[in-house]
């Protein structure tokens, strides 16, 4: 929101359209200052006498923004023209009221318009309350004191941030790249310009200065593309601050002061600073979330060096599969939904303990998956179940938090579009100190099923998918079509099944160092599938009392010794490894989307190209 305000000041809104008491501005254009189109701002000026002394602003994620498909963050279209209703720091009201024509435009421009309009009004009411409080303070202390305080608070924020950073971090350069995939070449649902396999490259570099400054760079990021995951600088700022406020800077007095102690380098023309203003940005989070996952590990390494071990996390999980969509709902009216269970993924393993099951999201530490009955009131899909998804937490000495899954049955509707958002072929957030990543994604939907007949005969039906290699869905449901990998399912019918799955967090430390009894407990409690006790943790299990397992300690010790031996046998001197890998690079032995990605990065950034060539000792003109 602050970028949207800065945009108005930079563009001399004080002259045109003018800024006066009672004006109401709205923005949801992330190229100006917003994270993505679904986040709609209300911004009002605070004017004392004839002086503009501040702004009050509020933001809500709208359930639908009138995009080409229902749901708040639809994708698959090529550019902004499918994004929906776009309001670019526009004056939408005066005298503390919205223009009637503006509300009319909103009603006509979005689905589930009642939510949009209701939210507009409540945001405005909230802003007015903030404005009144500020006015009261100004009245109480005088304008000069108020202004002096604001400036001091900002300067204090800057200094405190630097001091905190000096206290907690070790100066230096931290590299933490990450990637995500878009396997769309075969997906007929997406626009022809996007119908290709793509990779996102986020070569995050964090530099901590001796004075405590924190500079983040994405130099080397590859080019934007015809998908909806492009980010402008404003979303990148937003993502950086949601990370800092969850870790280094969890202060209740966050202001632009800390902003002045940081910087963010975003190469022009890349996915994180597009040189084409008409890119689609509905789901920037799809790149932001993987893109920043390395930052938490970089900070964690620094904490480790300082000894702040309680604060170290293996980072977060990604927030998929993101379930959203819409159509004619169970009340018989056209509507849209976005299911925010994704706000509760498994958290990353900590240095001192396992990650938490279904707990938070990168973009919201205060995650809350809501209640089944609440979601069913909003969505025409019955929950057949919602539970822990085993083996989703990343293995490690400390295990990543376990994710969850919900199996949804289309009911009292036969015309929905439901998106399947999520990575599938890559890990977008890795473990730390030898820990493994959490799960990557898969999709599993059933079309034209036999479930109605099963219900009538009281035959078992699936309530979750469980172990995908022994899928409950496949075992207990017969369908005309079984989908595994599509952008979205469209035109499903009643009694179709949709699997919504939330990821587990990455792990920390070598799984061979995990307490064997902890692994047995993981299997007993449903965190880890039995077969992975041996293959991932080298733990031999024994059937104890009842159904419960215990660890066979001598056998585990022997197995682990063997595993270590085999690791040694496979190991090689670093120089030898480097030579082999270099050979792979030189022969360009990578799949096409990876080659495309690197080529794009090298073309866009001579600086990064030189770094890459320097690292692999390649000729100056070498490229993918």
């Amino acid at each position: 929101m602050s970028d949207a305000i800065k945009f108005m000041i930079r563009n001399n809104y004080e002259a045109t359209p003018g800024i006066k008491h009672g004006d109401v501005f709205c923005n949801n254009n992330s190229m100006i200052g917003d994270v993505h189109t679904a986040d709609v701002h209300t911004i009002i000026p605070i004017i004392v006498g004839d002086e503009l002394v501040g702004w009050a602003a509020g933001v809500t994620h709208e359930i639908d923004v009138g995009g080409i498909e229902p749901g708040s963050m639809c994708y698959g279209h090529a550019d902004r023209y499918g994004d929906g209703l776009l309001v670019s720091s526009e004056r939408v009201g005066e005298n503390d009221e919205f223009y009637a024509h503006y509300l009319q435009r909103c009603r006509e421009g979005v689905r589930a318009e009642m939510y949009w309009v209701l939210d507009e009004k409540t945001r405005l009411a909230g802003c007015q309350m903030v404005r009144e409080q500020v006015m009261r303070t100004v009245e109480e202390v005088g304008l000069d004191t108020f202004k002096a305080f604001m400036r001091e608070a900002i300067e204090e924020g800057r200094r405190s941030f630097l001091a905190r950073s000096r206290q907690m971090l070790v100066p230096g350069v931290y590299e933490a790249p990450s990637f995500t995939d878009l396997p769309w070449s075969e997906d007929a649902n997406v626009h022809r310009l996007a119908r290709k396999d793509m990779m996102m490259h986020a070569p995050l570099q964090m530099t901590v200065g001796g004075d405590g400054r924190l500079d983040l760079s994405f130099e080397g990021a590859n080019k934007w593309d015809f998908h909806s995951f492009n980010c402008a600088p404003s979303p990148m700022q937003g993502a950086m601050w949601v990370q800092l406020t969850q870790t280094l800077w969890n202060s209740d007095k966050i202001n632009d002061g800390a902003y002045f102690a940081t910087s963010l380098k975003l190469p022009y023309g890349s996915w994180c600073n597009p040189d084409y203003e008409k890119v689609s940005t509905t789901l920037t989070w799809f790149f932001l979330i993987p893109g920043f996952s390395g930052m938490i590990r970089a900070i964690g390494r620094s904490y480790f060096a300082r000894g702040y071990v309680e604060d170290i996390s293996a980072s977060y999980c990604t927030s998929w599969n993101l379930m959203q969509g819409g159509g004619i709902n169970h009340y018989g009216v056209p509507s849209a939904f976005t299911n925010f269970e994704v706000s509760c993924g498994g958290t990353g393993a900590l240095y001192v303990k396992d990650g938490e099951t279904s707990c938070a999201a990168m973009w919201n530490p205060e995650g809350d998956m809501g209640e089944v009955e609440t979601w069913e009131a909003l969505e025409p899909l019955i929950y057949l179940g919602r539970g822990m998804k085993p083996s989703t937490g990343g293995p490690g000495k400390q295990r990543g938090g376990t994710g969850s899954e919900a199996l949804r049955l289309l009911f009292k509707t036969d015309s929905q579009t439901i998106f399947n958002g999520g990575e599938g072929h890559v890990f977008s957030s890795y473990g730390i100190f030898g820990g493994y990543p959490g799960n990557s994604g898969y999709r599993h939907n059933m079309h034209d099923t036999d479930l109605k007949a099963r219900f009538d005969k009281r035959e078992p039906y699936p309530v979750l998918d469980g172990d995908p290699e022994a899928s409950q869905i496949s075992a207990l449901c017969t369908a005309a079509r079984e989908d595994f990998d599509m952008k979205a399912i469209q035109g499903p019918q009643e009694y179709d099944l949709y699997l919504s799955m939330n990821r587990g967090g990455p792990g920390l430390g070598d799984p061979l160092e995990r307490e064997p009894e902890a692994v047995a407990r993981d299997v007993n409690e449903g965190h880890v599938l039995e077969r992975f006790a041996r293959s991932l943790y080298s733990v031999e299990l024994l059937k104890g009392t009842g159904e419960l397992f215990t660890a066979d300690l001598p056998a585990t010790e022997a197995l682990r010794a063997e595993m270590r031996k085999s690791r040694l046998a496979r190991s090689k001197p670093a120089a030898e490894f480097f030579a082999e890998e270099k050979q792979r690079v030189e022969s360009r032995a990578v799949i096409r989307p990876v080659a495309d990605m690197y080529r794009s990065s090298m073309k866009l950034s001579p600086e990064w190209a030189a770094k890459y060539r320097g690292f692999w000792a390649l000729p100056d003109d070498w490229t993918y």
């Binding site: 969850q246 009281r458 449903g526």
Partner: protein, 715 residues
């Protein structure tokens, strides 16, 4: 002897307090160690301790006690310590991981803002029932109450058999949308009965549709589980205490303070709502005092060792939240709306080494007071240390002199931890800390009043609790409250409040029924009227019957009960509703619906400003609510003759140096109990009673009125 005593008790974690009021409003407070195994022992000790101050005994007084109210923390402790009943749980299939997933919000409930932001601090709760005793049963009812999938009865039967084999003491049943259609739950209960009968065992079954027929499956499951797990075992304690009172010759029915602000029978079906009653007592007491004085609007404020509690009485009533959290559980219980700020007299004071800022709390030393307490073992400065150092707290009068505090220790600690790092004089530093604390509370007070759509000018401010009167001038300063009032019995005000509560049941039921705006969509309004009226009227009738059933356990007939009817209303599409009382018992005409809408619109506009009204969306009544009230004997307010403005010499204890505004002053120290109505106290005065201290700082004066209420005014 005239039958006019009122007794209330509060069995805390360490001490059991009893509070006796006679017909003239005089009271005594007794204390004894709490005896968790059999609370009636501590209760008996405490009664002896209280009544000996009047030179009498429980045997002499109890036959004349008309009302006896229990409040206590044993239920809460049972929950916190996970020492409740061994239960089994039956839920809709696929949801067996309820207690493992919880909701993310339960991993940070009760955290400070900083820790809520910081993900690495978030933790799930230890489940009340292990995963191995939670069973799923296939079958589904949908949001409309329609059966979507038939109940797989054999799965229910198998689950019950396994739970019988597990020797559970109770079975909780919580199926999706059971509030809308309870047939599946009813059937599970029948199967439980059949299987228990066949096995020759008796196991109580707790149905969510029976106990808490409200929407939100997880919070409802929490509530029913807490009921069976922690509340049910308290019945035994209640019976022992009641037995003790009868042994003393009493014939009143012991009642329990409940979270909705009334008292209920110990035999009530829904006992979990007595889980937390402490701060509510103060609100009920304040409402009662206000009513007696003809005051409509009161801000209630209470400072204890760990928190600052704030609640609003508006138009003579308080608001009730329907989805509170307690002990890190989201619940579906009515709870008097009280905001708690993590700042009390025991809050720690530190200088943040990074920012060089003074930080107060959020953690506190609680009952250990501060560094000044030689037995406390506290090393970090607390607010009490600042109060002791500056002379506001009498080191020899803490808890009536039970604990002798050492100001020198406070001085050394404040010097080393606060003053020197900041380059300040220790007394200036301590005064700075207190003014920071009071400014913080003042902002909280203002924000709460303002946030609800009101201004302090329309309210009286009541201050009570051990620490409220010490700081009330500081947090009331400049807010222009109509009056600032401190009862002379501030320390015992919560117990007094419990004794002021009516005998009152409250029942909620989800209805989720909408009507259109009669102005904007007259046809839609007319078309929806019948369905709306039927749904609301049916729910009210059911709830009235349940209230009647509860009262009948205490031998109270329906005609003695005053029923009040409420609806929780919101615009269609919103997430939060507003509770409105309606002036009729049934929705009979369209005018009745208009009345509900008008009342909602008024309350809503007050809360959220006119800009947010959205009648075009229509109105959803989410919940129907019935309260049934039977008035009971309550304590009388003291009414004493007025003396002159000058306190009598024996009220003056002497003088003490206190530090204010950068210098030392001679403050007059008074015995609170010896001051007489009509007395006027000027600044700086410190008025002491064994459990509380009222400070009249520079810029203020105080009068004691005929009800023994101090009125603090800015001069």
């Amino acid at each position: 002897m005239e039958r006019s005593y009122i007794m209330s008790m509060d069995a805390g974690g360490t001490m059991t307090d009893t509070f006796f009021v006679d017909g003239d409003g005089r009271f005594v407070v007794g204390k004894a160690q709490t005896t968790p195994q059999d609370e009636s022992q501590g209760f008996a000790q405490s009664c002896v301790d209280a009544l000996q101050q009047w030179g009498t005994t429980p045997e002499a007084v109890f036959p004349s006690v008309q009302t006896g109210i229990y409040s206590g923390t044993s239920m809460l402790n049972r929950l916190l310590e996970r020492k409740g009943q061994r239960l089994g749980v039956i839920v809709s299939a696929g949801l067996e991981d309820y207690f493992q997933l919880e909701r993310g919000i339960q991993t940070y409930l009760g955290y400070s803002y900083q820790d809520r932001l910081k993900v690495v601090t978030h933790r799930h709760n230890v489940p009340l029932v292990p995963r191995s005793r939670v069973y799923g049963v296939r079958g589904r009812v949908d949001v409309f109450g329609d059966e979507a999938i038939p109940l797989y009865e054999e799965e229910a039967r198998a689950a019950v058999r396994r739970l019988i084999a597990e020797e559970v003491k109770g079975i909780v049943v919580n199926l999706l949308f059971s509030y809308a259609n309870s047939t599946h739950e009813d059937r599970v209960r029948a199967i439980c009965a059949e299987e228990c009968g066949a096995a020759g065992v008796t196991i109580p079954v707790y149905l969510s549709s029976d106990l808490y027929p409200v929407m939100q499956d997880f919070a409802r499951l929490n509530t029913v589980t807490v009921e069976a797990y922690a509340a049910e075992p308290s019945r035994g304690q209640f019976r022992k205490i009641a037995g003790r009172t009868r042994g003393y010759g009493a014939d009143f029915e012991l009642r329990v303070m409940a979270s909705h602000g009334g008292t209920i029978s110990t035999e009530a079906k829904e006992l979990a709502r007595t889980l937390i009653s402490g701060p509510i007592g103060g609100m009920v007491g304040a409402r009662y005092v206000a009513e007696k004085l003809g005051v409509k609007n009161v801000v209630c404020s209470d400072i204890g060792g760990t928190s600052f509690d704030l609640g609003l009485i508006t138009n003579g009533g308080f608001t009730v939240k329907s989805q509170p959290d307690m002990a890190r559980f989201m619940l579906k219980l009515p709870l008097v709306d009280i905001d708690s700020v993590g700042a009390g007299t025991g809050s720690y004071v530190r200088v943040n080494p990074v920012s060089n800022r003074i930080e107060i709390g959020p953690d506190s030393t609680g009952s250990r007071v501060g560094v000044c307490n030689p037995q406390g073992g506290v090393e970090t400065v607390t607010l009490s240390d600042c109060n002791v150092l500056l002379g506001y707290l009498n080191p020899n009068n803490f808890l009536g002199g039970e604990v002798i505090l050492d100001p020198e220790k406070s001085l050394a600690a404040i010097k080393a931890q606060i003053a020197e790092p900041l380059g300040l004089d220790p007394y200036d530093a301590a005064e700075g800390v207190l003014s920071l604390f009071e400014d913080h509370l003042r902002n909280e007070v203002y924000a709460r009043v303002f946030g609800k759509g009101y201004a302090p000018e329309d309210y009286h401010l009541y201050s009570y609790g051990g620490g409220g009167p010490l700081h009330v001038a500081g947090y009331a300063k400049g807010l222009r409250f109509a009056k600032v009032v401190v009862p002379a019995w501030a320390a015992g005000f919560s117990a007094f409040g419990c004794a002021c509560a009516d005998f009152e049941y409250r029942m909620d039921r989800t209805v989720n029924v909408a009507v259109q705006s009669p102005e904007l969509n007259a046809a839609g309004f007319k078309a929806g009227f019948d369905g709306y009226a039927r749904a609301v009227n049916e729910a009210w009738a059911t709830l009235e019957q349940r209230v009647e059933d509860e009262f009948s356990k205490s031998g109270v007939a329906r005609d003695r009960v005053e029923f009040r009817h409420f609806g929780c209303v919101q615009y269609v599409g919103q997430l939060n509703d507003v509770e409105v009382q309606v002036p009729f018992e049934r929705v009979k005409t369209e005018a009745d619906v208009r009345e509900i809408i008008t009342r909602f619109e008024e309350a809503y506009a007050k809360l959220y400003s006119r800009a947010a009204t959205s009648p075009e969306l229509g109105y959803l009544t989410t919940t129907a609510v019935i309260t049934g009230v039977v008035p009971v004997e309550k304590p009388r307010l003291p009414a004493e003759p007025l003396a002159g403005p000058e306190p009598s010499p024996d009220a003056l204890k002497g003088t003490r140096k206190v530090y204010r505004e950068g210098k030392w002053h001679d403050a007059k120290i008074y015995h609170m109990e010896r001051l007489e109505p009509g007395n006027r106290l000027s600044a700086i005065s410190v008025i002491e009673s064994p459990s509380t201290t009222l400070v009249i700082p520079l810029g203020f004066e105080a009068n004691l009125d005929e009800h023994r209420l101090f009125h603090l005014t800015e001069v």
